[in-house]
Point group: C2
């Protein structure tokens, strides 16, 4: 009987055309070109970058990004941080709030472990109550340790227009920064000012206007912090869709993009701004036609193969505008329709999809198949295990 | 350091209020009431039921359903079938087409293994090409075995209005049934006639009209099959949203609902038909407020905690109409808004969400936490491992 291991088994050297479907595939050549584009952007503007691991959740890829120049990684959850640490990453910023005492106890233990390895844990806060809970956990966890100075770096999250988390004003940032500075075990490390939504404003001018308001607020906040004596702190933010703007703003010292390495269909729908690197799709779902009707083909990829929060996938290499269009077929199926004059794929034929959004798509899979040499003639080089898949708690 | 095991660790006996967030929780009492409702429905109409494991992907739950009366289980993928077989399920219907030679070779091996255990593999087809590929695989895999008669049961899928897979006409079903009967190693086992989309027609009368057309086509097909001499075959279909109609139709001998055991928010939005059991929500995401603003609360559950293909989750126990509404906060966050007069939850407070769609939500998690005694006073009874999570290939 076919043994069920729970994980896709793919040997190195397997030709791409023999890959089973649906499979999540990374074009390693394209990914490495994208990484070099980020290296060049950061170097051009003299800023650091800290690639966001919420996107790929893969410790091996986090290491590859660090080798290329990323300053550690960002994550969103304590379990994600634990997974990256278990995979050898030492410098981790949890760019999100944690308020539960049990999670903060884990964060304190993780901070101690990272420090022992010469690394550092940082975490975001946006309330005095959350700060107090963090401080208590860190102080309790370090009470029997020799005094090594502040154990956890703390960044204050400012709401720069996303209207999700973050304090509302520069003055509130100052209040929190001063409270952090008074807590044993903690260090005020900077400002977390991220506008995720702005990246998805499709029209470039509207996006730039939104970001101009973000930068004005960030500038006020930096001035307010400096006005009360803070200096040398990090200003971090910037996703893949706006990072060229933050890099050029003169305000941000660190970018935290994730998607740029693999990209997705949504970003291809967004008008580029001047200076934005030409990141290319490097993440694909290989799928196969399993049924044919007169007017459509049915492929074996659905909501369990790719996330649809940012739209349905594009059919790769189907022309511009695409002659084949992916339609919603539910959890396990996709419906392929052909534009007039185009030919529907035959039963058994493989298609390649570009997922609408890479982050939640990767979180559906246990591994990405890294391919060298392209999607037609390439071969499998290595499996990229998605270590933090499902690590949301 | 907090050890990262990749799987949520929750001991039996833990009080519900100590569960970390976000966690996928099953109210076992509610689930068992739902199962008894299905038992009663099937008994009332004298039909079999074969609960669909695409919903829960959990071998232990498949076993519990079989113990309650389910005739084996349905699955959608060969890897899902392998996972259920590895978990001890012997009677499996892959209610979907498989055309790749490598997958069909696995299916043949699985069929042999199940037969050795006294079980049976069944599979759907909707093309002569797919049938030929299946027959070749089975004939090759069984060529060295003693003749045990047909090894694989084959059901013909008929398109009954979903316009996805399935042959278009009763005549095409007859052609395929006759072709199956001529293939060594295969047995024509019946008709697969499932209309997934109809369950989601919110207005009951419109749904019944759609299903009336389905039943007319199924009746024609049964007559056509009987007209050429077939008898004693299974007629299978029916999801949770329409199963009372199929059960009462006099045409279906087997129902294949999945969601009924756990239910989801989408089904609560659909007007019930006469005879439809009052299945209740039994699947929840426990979440926590991690940030508070003046006008909203931010919880730690987003697209990576629950699927949104059938809408955003409902806040549980928030009144009717709900006074707290969940808004899209991206992959890791939810935005909770309060209706006028209602009070937003405080920082640190727990909320319970009813996911929009149970199947793809469960596929995001490695385990469900089975709770006995309700969501307020209950305790953890057992972890339900989602064995086939990510098994889509």
């Amino acid at each position: 009987m076919g043994q069920f291991t729970g994980v896709l088994q793919v040997p190195a050297g397997l030709p791409v055309h023999e890959l089973e479907t649906p499979t999540l595939v990374v074009d390693l050549d394209a990914m490495e070109r994208n990484i070099q584009r980020m290296v060049a952007l950061a170097a051009r503007h003299g800023v650091h970058w800290r690639a966001h691991a919420k996107m790929h959740k893969c410790a091996a890829l986090a290491k590859q990004l660090i080798d290329a120049g990323s300053r550690g990684c960002c994550v969103q959850k304590i379990s994600e941080a634990e997974a990256m640490a278990a995979g050898g990453i030492d410098d981790i910023f949890i760019s999100n709030e944690i308020v539960s005492a049990s999670k903060l106890a884990r964060a304190a233990q993780l901070a101690i472990a990272l420090r022992q390895r010469g690394g550092q844990l940082a975490i975001a806060v946006d309330s005095l109550q959350g700060l107090q809970a963090l401080a208590s956990s860190v102080q309790q966890a370090t009470s029997n340790l020799p005094d090594t100075g502040p154990m956890v770096d703390v960044l204050v999250e400012l709401n720069v227009g996303q209207n999700r988390a973050g304090v509302a004003t520069p003055q509130a940032v100052v209040v929190l920064a001063q409270a952090i500075a008074q807590q044993a075990g903690l260090r005020f490390a900077g400002l977390h000012a991220y506008h995720g939504g702005a990246q998805h404003i499709e029209e470039a001018t509207a996006r730039q206007q939104t970001m101009a308001a973000v930068y004005a607020l960030v500038k006020q906040t930096i001035d307010a912090l400096q006005g009360v004596g803070f200096s040398g702190f990090t200003v971090t933010g910037a996703g893949s869709g706006t990072c060229a703007l933050e890099a050029a703003s003169g305000l941000y010292s660190e970018l935290q993009p994730g998607s740029f390495a693999l990209m997705d269909a949504h970003y291809t729908r967004v008008e580029s701004t001047v200076g934005q690197p030409a990141f290319e799709p490097a993440l694909f779902v290989k799928t196969q036609v399993i049924s044919r009707a007169a007017g459509h083909a049915v492929v074996d990829a659905g909501h369990k193969s790719h996330a649809i929060d940012s739209g349905l996938p594009l059919v790769w290499n189907a022309g511009q505008p695409p002659t084949l269009v992916f339609g919603n077929g539910g959890d396990e199926h996709g419906l392929i329709h052909a534009q007039p004059g185009a030919v529907l794929p035959e039963l058994g034929q493989a298609l390649w999809l570009v997922p609408g959004h890479c982050d939640p798509t990767i979180n559906l899979h246990d591994a990405m198949v890294g391919v060298r040499g392209g999607l037609t003639q390439g071969v499998v080089e290595r499996l990229l295990r998605i270590d933090a898949r499902g690590a949301i708690w």
